[in-house]
């Protein structure tokens, strides 16, 4: 068995798609905050911390909850063997702007802690007890070739047995999250650049 994509989750246009199946679809007029709350109500385990997260973290967190439902990667592979490899284009700009707007009055500590995009990987790691390598990149657009090669390198160098590859971007009401689970010896679709690209673009792609 070769390294394979064993699950994926795509959140875009007020839809949550997991492994090609639409699990939630909401009307486009809904604000992001209302949409993501409905996704939380549908699938996420109760976690008061969710409501303190910024929108970018909420998006990544919810995508991970759908992706990892009923999976116990930490137990299966060991906490140190699950890596997260994320990227986006807007960094944490959405929260940076909100935080900047508080500086003139009273700087908000709870906003400040989210003025880095890689915090979303921290939230997911805490929730799932992952302690493997985390890497975050900022690209102009989704780069499946880079992400695939980096993930393969982590596995080849025995730094990970499972890698969650993520493209999670949000700025105001524009957002998208694409998370893929790649496992060293999993049953699924081979981890190739083309397959990553396909999953990202074709919303009903079955593994």
């Amino acid at each position: 068995m070769s390294t394979a994509i064993t699950a994926y989750c795509l959140i875009r246009n007020h839809k949550v798609i997991v492994n090609g199946e639409t699990l939630l679809e909401k009307e486009k007029e809904l604000k992001f905050s209302e949409f993501i709350k409905s996704a939380y109500d549908l699938n996420a385990s109760a976690n008061l911390k969710f409501f303190k997260m910024d929108d970018l973290c909420k998006l990544a967190y919810i995508a991970s909850e759908f992706l990892l439902k009923n999976k116990k990667l930490s137990e299966q592979y060991g906490q140190e063997n699950v890596s997260l490899l994320f990227a986006n284009t807007s960094s944490s700009l959405d929260t940076d702007i909100s935080y900047y707007n508080t500086i003139k009055d009273f700087p908000s500590p709870s906003l400040f802690v989210y003025t880095l995009p890689n915090i979303m990987m921290g939230e997911i790691s805490i929730r799932n007890k992952f302690k493997g390598e985390n890497a975050f990149f900022i690209f102009e657009r989704f780069d499946p070739d880079f992400l695939r090669n980096y993930a393969m390198q982590l596995i080849k160098e025995k730094k990970a047995k499972a890698v969650i590859i993520g493209w999670v971007d949000l700025l105001k009401e524009n957002y998208e999250a694409f998370l893929c689970l790649a496992e060293e010896t999993g049953n699924g679709t081979e981890l190739t650049t083309e397959n990553l690209e396909k999953l990202y673009n074709v919303t009903n792609f079955k593994l």
Partner: protein, 85 residues
């Protein structure tokens, strides 16, 4: 004091985004950190901001924070004792 305690409960729920928590769920004497509401260090900083923003009170000695923020009642007592006329 009761009025201030009721107001503080609402302000804390709002400032700390305590989703699903109603003012009546919080007892004035419940510990805010550790158990009780289970607040964390970032919440503590938000409480400092709340005191300054809403009551004009600055905590000069950070070491006093643990005592001041022990419960809603202790915060209310601190505000009453330190609020400028």
């Amino acid at each position: 004091m009761d009025e201030l305690i009721a107001k503080l409960k609402t302000q804390i729920i709002e400032q700390l985004n305590l989703e699903g928590v109603a003012p009546d769920d919080i007892s004035a004497d419940d510990p805010l950190f550790g158990e009780g509401l289970g607040l964390d260090s970032i919440d503590a900083l938000e409480l400092i901001v709340l005191l300054e923003k809403n009551y004009g009170i600055r905590i000069e000695n950070p070491a006093d924070g643990k005592k001041i923020f022990a419960t809603i009642r202790s915060i209310a007592e601190y505000i009453t004792a330190n609020k400028k006329a």
